[in-house]
């Protein structure tokens, strides 16, 4: 097949450009996002938590979620460990028998509203937004339902309405973003009787948490969970017992999730840029090899032909010369014979 160079390069250009769709891919940098200024957060202190489930109630009411089978003041439900579900953006779990704990310890589970959320990074249709209030919101009007966010979230928070056939949505805590915009508190924070949930600016909450630890070093573990985990979260935790005893993973590291895929995404333009050159080069190489092979073959054929024709010519001329000599002899013989015959005839007539 033949194609002009210009056309070829033209096609390549189009091919290349159409694969590089994001022009703002940052190369590996030392940028660190520490939250929008004045962004809010919630500090959950399980030393103050009494496991009353008023927070679950508040969340259920504010978000108009369906009523559960057992009412919120039925604390027997704490006998089982639960996780977030499409009908419960937040749950409280009770942990008994933890070493050195004076009684049962509670843990409230909900979206941690990370500073650099894995869900937002992984969503290919930008359904998640890290808002300036600190809340990570979800837009169900664009969600395709690929559920990659559920794979990505290290805290295993997003839940999916699998039982809905045509309008399934991701369901997760929204930090009551609409209420935050009106200056109100999130539903769970509003109803907590002991202020185990404190709402405020994230930077201030960290200071408050440090102060609580400083004041009561024997009541708190000296660590604010969420200060640095996965690059930092807006929901911070203080605990009186080691976090891992409550099922909170302490091995998540401090690398924010988007950082984990930055390298792979950054390699896309490199491949798009280099591969055409490399592959064209291989093509050129193989073409050149073919050409050389062809030329060598032609040369070999030509040499062989030339040799053969030379030989043939020689043979021909030899045969021709032979034939001519033969001819000549034959002619001379015939002439002689003819002359002889004429002489004979003359002699016969002369007498």
């Amino acid at each position: 097949m033949s194609i002009s160079r210009r056309k070829f390069l033209g096609w390549l250009g189009v091919a290349g450009i159409s694969t590089v769709l994001d022009k703002r891919v940052y190369a590996a940098s030392n940028k660190h996002f520490s939250g929008y200024p004045d962004s809010g957060g919630v500090l959950y202190d399980n030393v103050l938590c009494i496991g009353c489930r008023d927070c679950e109630n508040g969340c259920n009411q504010v978000n108009e979620l369906p009523q559960p089978d057992k009412p919120f003041d039925d604390l027997s439900i704490l006998d089982n460990k639960r996780r977030t579900s499409p009908k419960a953006y937040t749950v409280v779990n009770r942990y008994d028998g933890i070493k050195d704990a004076k009684g049962p310890v509670y843990r409230k589970i909900q979206c941690n509203h990370c500073l650099e959320p894995a869900c937002a990074s992984s969503c290919f249709v930008k359904a998640y937004t890290k808002t300036e209030t600190g809340a990570v919101t979800y837009d169900s009007s664009v969600c395709v339902g690929c559920r990659y966010c559920m794979i990505a979230c290290p805290f295993e928070i997003p839940t999916y309405e699998y039982d809905k056939a045509l309008t399934p949505r991701i369901m997760k805590c929204t930090m009551c973003y609409p209420r935050l915009l009106k200056g109100k508190l999130p539903g769970c924070v509003q109803l907590c009787p002991t202020e185990a949930l404190t709402f405020g600016k994230r930077t201030q909450l960290i200071k408050t948490a440090r102060e609580r630890i400083r004041k009561y070093p024997d009541r708190y573990i000296d660590h604010i969970y969420g200060e640095h985990e996965m690059g930092g979260t807006s929901w911070l935790y203080l605990s009186g017992v080691p976090f891992r005893d409550l099922g909170m993973r302490e091995d998540l590291g401090i690398t924010p999730a988007p950082e984990l895929t930055k390298g792979a995404l950054g390699s896309v333009p490199i491949i798009v840029g280099l591969w055409p050159a490399v592959l064209t080069g291989m093509y050129a190489l193989s073409k050149r090899k073919e050409k050389i092979a062809r030329e060598e073959k032609e040369e070999a054929v030509a040499t062989a032909l030339a040799k053969a024709s030379a030989e043939a010519e020689e043979k021909l001329s030899k045969v021709l010369t032979e034939a001519e000599v033969k001819n000549q002899t034959a002619i001379e013989g015939a002439v002689k014979k003819a002359l002889g015959k004429v002489a004979d005839n003359q002699t016969k007539e002369g007498t």
Binding site: A15, S122, K126, A127, G145, W275, K289
Partner: protein
């Protein structure tokens, strides 16, 4: 002039007529046959389950949960499907870029396998994704360019178009549209290069999908080299699937294969087998380096470590060795088994990463095992592919050259 075009369009019409006749014949051959009955049952079941899926939602047909968002439709249909459809770009690259003209006959079957493979991936996605009619949204509404999945989606769509365009000449020959076919043939090299670029991108990106979840994937399988592992394994998966598919075609479509294909089979198996052995060896080496870099040797003694070794030794090292022996001894049977072993190995690797070694830390009550309906739908989708391959291969010049064209 008008008279010429009248004749030309008459030829086209007559070709269309012939094409339709071919289609009916192929359909009859496929479905009215001993195995055809099985196809019909599977397809009927699949259609019923499809209705269930879209009336009862994912909860009605799968065992997916909030802990396990991706099941075998992603692990098998998407990940394995894409890996095994790599035969297309591997073969066309070998022939058009690296100049292995002697495998030319293998390009069309490989492209068809690839094309159908990607088509089936898109079909499977329509089942798995919550709102499949919204799949164009990332491209037309909001581009989530921080997401690896965006890049996967874009490349898969583009590559599907490339495959379609590479497949078209065969269809156009069948339909008798000579001019269009000629134009398309001119694009072969560009499409091939484009195809290799896109394949590199999306094969590796399928691995990159899991980079975001280090806390959920077992450390022996999680590595920052995941994209490289996925791409390299797709290369030998491609070689192996072509060898395997040529063996199958020989068995089931032997009558449709032309002489070039029949004779070239052995050469193809040897050549691709050699290449696969080499790439498998390289892959084995980088896997070992991956363990070494993170110093995970001690994990090899754990139960998951044993499983990892089964995958690595039994389905990477073993086929590498078998290929080498088969090529040296020119033994097609060994090569065929090596191909099967490699294909199973790639499937095992994808299933390990997406389902088995994923969420390994969760208690067994929260782990995932597919619902029989999920398996049935996967079987249905694969069956659709097989049936389509059959029909197309018997109608169109895939396994043989069209007598009217010889370029």
């Amino acid at each position: 002039m008008p008279r010429e075009s009248a004749t030309a369009s008459k030829t086209v019409l007559s070709s269309f007529d012939q094409a339709l006749k071919d289609l009916v014949k192929a359909l009859r051959e496929t479905f009215i046959s001993p195995f055809g009955f099985v196809y019909i049952i599977i397809i009927l079941l699949g259609l019923i389950l499809t209705i269930l899926r879209f009336t009862k939602g994912l909860a009605g047909v799968t065992n997916l949960s909030d802990y396990n968002a991706w099941g075998i439709w992603i692990g098998f249909d998407l990940l394995t499907g894409v890996a095994l459809a790599a035969g297309g770009f591997v073969t066309s690259a070998a022939v058009y870029i690296f100049g292995y003209k002697k495998y030319h006959f293998a390009v069309r079957p490989a492209i068809l396998t690839g094309f159908l493979g990607y088509a089936l991936v898109i079909v499977a996605l329509n089942y798995d994704v919550g709102r499949p009619w919204r799949m164009p949204y990332p491209f037309i509404l909001q581009q989530g360019t921080t997401s690896v999945l965006f890049e996967v989606g874009a490349c898969v769509v583009l590559y599907f178009l490339v495959l379609f365009m590479e497949f078209c000449p065969a269809a156009l020959e069948w339909l008798g549209l000579k001019k269009l076919r000629k134009q398309l043939i001119k694009l072969t090299l560009v499409l091939t290069i484009f195809g290799v670029i896109l394949s590199t991108l999306h094969q590796s990106s399928l691995g990159s999908l899991f980079l975001i979840a280090p806390s959920k994937l077992h450390p022996l399988w999680y590595s920052s080299y995941l994209p490289i592992f996925f791409f390299v394994s797709s290369v030998f998966a491609g070689f192996s699937i072509v060898i395997f598919e040529s063996a199958l075609s020989h068995r089931f479509f032997g009558d449709k294969m032309d002489e070039a294909l029949q004779k070239g089979r052995e050469d193809l198996a040897l050549g691709f087998g050699k290449a696969a052995s080499l790439v498998l060896a390289g892959y084995f080496a980088v896997k070992i380096f991956g363990i070494s870099v993170d110093n995970h040797w001690h994990l090899l003694g754990t139960p998951y470590g044993i499983w990892f070794l089964v995958e690595l030794l039994g389905f990477v090292a073993l086929p590498c060795f078998l290929y080498a022996v088969g090529v040296r001894d020119r033994n097609l049977t060994i090569i065929k088994w090596a191909a099967i072993c490699t294909v199973i190995g790639v499937m095992l690797n994808r299933l390990n990463i997406s389902l088995i070694a994923f969420n390994w830390h969760l208690p067994s009550a929260d782990r995932y095992f597919p619902h029989w309906m999920e398996i049935a739908i996967s079987v249905f989708i694969v069956t659709l592919g097989i049936v389509a391959f059959r029909i197309i291969a018997s109608m169109m010049p895939i396994l043989h050259d069209h007598p009217d064209y010889n370029d």
